[in-house]
């Protein structure tokens, strides 16, 4: 689906991403993890050409991303922003209809078909009941759903999410992730998500990319990536890794200073 070939990117001086090569397969749920400043957000921005890499090439199917127009990309790849506000607030339905933009010409108004697509997207994300509310009156969780609806209205094949669970309580985190998982499993959408929450990444993603200083440190299924050695090496802090007793996926526990000696004893 998306093929990165030794991609490097820098803003001014230092390389933020270096020599990244990876393939994202169609229908995959991929997670990008790594410490602050490791290049997670930059990688996502490069995937939808908000930024263009100085070196390397990105192929969407067989076309190079650099040869596509922004509109063409927007029909294939949608982004759910971390947080977006509008200076002058729109209603939810207007916001979702903006997702139809890549299909509309200048001076065009959204037609019946666009409206149907937007309605379906709102049905999926359970935002139909709040369609007439203003975007700035919604709770964080509701707003996230609206942006998913807008992304779905783009009828994309890939959805990119940057820190989707930031600022959400655990109930809304789970709700939101289950919604994303549904889109992945039932609609076959390819998902790439950058996250700080390693446990969530471990539970939901098929494959993880662990970044360190702009390079891929480790890539593979959660069991191979989320190990005590990898995490301690990349994040530079002590953790305890065991198995989630329900799912059997790796689970991380953060350790306080005084717990480290206990951890060492337990490990022996």
């Amino acid at each position: 689906m998306i093929d990165l070939r030794s991609v490097s990117f820098r803003y001014r001086q230092d390389w933020v991403l270096q020599d990244i090569s990876l393939r994202i397969e169609r229908g995959e749920f991929i997670g990008v993890i790594g410490p602050n400043g490791s290049g997670k957000s930059t990688l996502l921005k490069i995937l939808c050409r908000l930024l263009s890499p100085q070196k390397g090439e990105i192929l969407l199917e067989i076309t190079s991303l650099s040869e596509m127009s922004q509109r063409e990309i927007a029909r294939k790849i949608a982004v759910v922003p971390q947080e977006a506000y509008s200076l002058f607030p729109f209603r939810v339905i207007e916001m979702v209809l903006m997702g139809r933009s890549p299909y509309l010409g200048h001076l065009m108004f959204e037609g019946a078909r666009d409206f149907e697509i937007a309605k379906k997207a709102m049905d999926w994300t359970e935002t139909l009941s709040i369609s007439e509310r203003f975007i700035d009156e919604l709770s964080g969780g509701e707003r996230k759903r609206v942006f998913i609806a807008r992304a779905l209205a783009q009828e994309p094949e890939v959805i990119l999410l940057d820190e989707p669970t930031a600022n959400l309580d655990i109930h809304h985190q789970i709700d939101f992730l289950n919604l994303i998982l549904n889109l992945n499993r039932e609609k076959g959408l390819t998902i790439a998500m950058a996250s700080h929450d390693l446990n969530i990444a471990s539970e939901y993603c098929d494959r993880l990319i662990l970044l360190k200083g702009g390079r891929i440190y480790k890539m593979g299924p959660p069991r191979e990536v989320i190990t005590r050695e990898n995490i301690e090496e990349v994040y530079g802090c002590k953790v305890w890794v065991d198995e989630n007793p329900i799912s059997g996926m790796p689970r991380i526990t953060l350790l306080k200073k005084e717990e480290r000696s206990i951890e060492a004893r337990k490990r022996d």
């Binding site: 990309i73 927007a74 949608a78 002058f88 607030p89 339905i93 933009s101 001076l107 065009m108």
Partner: protein, 343 residues
């Protein structure tokens, strides 16, 4: 679920146009010589059709040579400043932005004042041309200062504009402090905004700028909606953001320059009309742009009519009226916290 349709835009525009026509007719009627409504309308219609009727020559002169051109100019300027205000608020992501925020007004003021000093204002287009030139030079400078790595950053552009404006204000102050009495009067009226400068033929010269600017901005109106939620968000939805910004800033600046060149710095229109129109019709630019233009035209025509009749035979600068109405009204909107909820 209500969504914006072409039909809704056309209906509202039509209603606001009817309101505008009503305001035009009322304004043409009143003044030191009252011309009754039926005669006013018939004079206007006759001139459109190239006929002559029973009305006196004096009435015809008052309506066709004095009042109608003035009303037309006020309408054009009101529409121009309102549209330009909408654009600056959207692009600079700042609810307090108005058409003058990037210093275009100070530039045109310096141009106008220099023209007044050199006696160019005696020539038929001396003052407007000098003011327009001053505005264009300022636009050029502000964009040169405000660009970084070939891109326009709203905050940097805003700073560049405000600083350039302050510098030009110093020049204005300098000229004010050394000017003689008769020049001072002209300058102050120009700074407050005044339609008695209006030269009927000049309307034809600024009309193309304002109309073309509006059409180009309307062409981009849907994309302007997307940029309200941020530049990245717009880019990701397929908008060529850098081009959109350059085109919109230039159009809005040119509209402002053309508007103020004939009548000076009329304040508040470009700030309160965009906000009022947004409260009435929402933030979608496909409706907001025509609605602001039409409301702005009606508002400025009405204000100018007040300005020339309220203390007749003394004429006030129209800027006094727009500020007197606009200021309190804007405070009212702010108090109700309706203008921007995040403020």
């Amino acid at each position: 679920m209500k969504i914006l349709t072409l039909k809704k835009v056309l209906t509202i525009s039509l209603l606001l146009t009817l309101l505008l026509i009503l305001v035009v007719l009322l304004s043409v009627m009143v003044g030191s010589v009252r011309v009754d409504p039926v005669r006013s309308i018939s004079i206007l219609l006759q001139s459109l059709l190239g006929l002559t009727g029973t009305e006196t020559e004096m009435e015809r002169t008052i309506i066709l040579s004095l009042r109608f051109p003035r009303v037309l100019l006020a309408g054009l300027v009101g529409a121009g400043l309102s549209v330009s205000g909408v654009i600056f608020q959207a692009l600079l992501r700042n609810p307090l932005a108005d058409p003058y925020i990037l210093g275009v007004s100070s530039g045109s003021a310096v141009g106008a004042i220099i023209a007044i000093f050199l006696g160019l204002s005696a020539l038929s287009f001396g003052l407007p041309l000098a003011s327009f030139a001053g505005a264009l030079i300022t636009i050029g400078l502000v964009f040169y200062f405000g660009k970084q790595e070939g891109k326009i950053h709203p905050n940097i552009l805003l700073l560049a504009g405000v600083i350039t404006g302050s510098f030009l204000s110093a020049i204005i102050m300098f000229f004010l402090s050394i000017s003689q009495k008769e020049e001072l009067h002209t300058i102050i009226f120009w700074l407050m905004g005044d339609f008695s400068f209006a030269n009927p033929r000049a309307i034809g010269i600024i009309l193309p700028y304002i109309v073309a600017g509006f059409l180009i901005l309307y062409w981009k109106s849907r994309h302007l909606n997307l940029i309200l939620s941020g530049e990245e968000s717009a880019l990701q939805l397929g908008v060529d953001v850098e081009r959109l910004k350059i085109v919109s800033y230039l159009c809005a600046s040119l509209i402002t320059a053309a508007s103020v060149s004939l009548c000076g710095l009329i304040g508040f229109v470009g700030l309160i009309i965009p906000h009022s129109a947004r409260l009435l019709f929402g933030p979608d630019h496909r409706l907001l742009l025509p609605a602001s233009a039409l409301i702005g035209a009606s508002f400025l025509i009405a204000s100018d009519t007040f300005a020339r009749t309220i203390l007749a035979p003394v004429e006030l600068p129209v800027g006094v009226i727009t500020a007197a109405f606009g200021g309190p009204f804007f405070i009212y909107l702010l108090r109700k916290r309706k203008v921007v909820k995040t403020l």
